[in-house]
Symmetry: C3
Subunit: 115 residues, 3 copies
């Protein structure tokens, strides 16, 4: 079983599109049964987790979540931006701190990608 | 105990501010007693370690160092930019090569963040 | 023995130049005998692996490959851009998926750098 966290802290749509394509390719290459993956969004990257801002990325995100991707929103960022859990896309998970989650997962043996 | 290196190779003030905020959040989330963290600055990122260039970041850096952060300046970059140890902020540590330090620490089990 | 993958997914010449310089410094710091390193190029970063686009970087890449660097081109990206193996610089290796390769290598104990 491969396990990886994917670090997203940018709001540029071209970057988000590339990260989601990379994630899709990752599931295709390693197989849905062979990969645990979490997309950790914080800072400007939080936009991809919010219902009002994810926009054109909602469909691709839903598809990736159906393949097993866990999408994590950083609570520190949510607080800083005045976002509550009701602002998030359905299925998004909240973590207390995005960067702490990235460190914790690596300590548990997960790989790290920062596309 | 969590251990992580934080990779900084950009000089953009907005990026530096975000990286320092991320690092502060990391100490808050994991606790000063529970985290060993090193900020490894090289290439354009070296500015944050120099007394003349760190500017508005000196206060936040001092605060983070008092919480346990080790700030590492890359000697290769210092040489390329004609910087000597007297140009560095008080408390900054010199490593021979920033990228080699990042690889070595990971080999010792440290996590890696590139915000 | 140190082992690391180096992640390149940008086409900006200044970024490519910095990544190649970082890689050279890494070999110098850790020694050709002490380092296994793979440069994994995908997305816009694929340009560095192609004979027609690598341009001024061909010489530095050849030098790094002679020091032991393995340069990996992502087949997913090649397919998306209509590139075939004959478009690649001599000595470049093809991997099925750049991101999957980065995850797999970390699972084998390799470090990760994203300069």
């Amino acid at each position: 079983m491969h396990r990886t966290v994917i670090h997203l802290n940018e709001a540029d749509p071209a970057k988000i599109q590339a990260v989601l394509q990379n994630t899709s390719n990752l599931f295709t290459a390693l197989g849905e049964e062979g990969l645990q993956a979490e997309l950790v969004a914080h800072g400007p990257g939080i936009t991809v987790t919010t219902a009002t801002l994810a926009g054109a990325f909602t469909g691709p995100l839903d598809d990736l979540m159906s393949r097993g991707l866990v999408v994590c929103a950083c609570r520190n960022t949510m607080t800083a931006k005045g976002l509550s859990s009701t602002d998030l896309l359905e299925g998004v998970t909240i973590v207390d701190s995005g960067v702490a989650h990235l460190v914790t997962r690596q300590g548990q043996g997960w790989s790290y990608l920062r596309p």
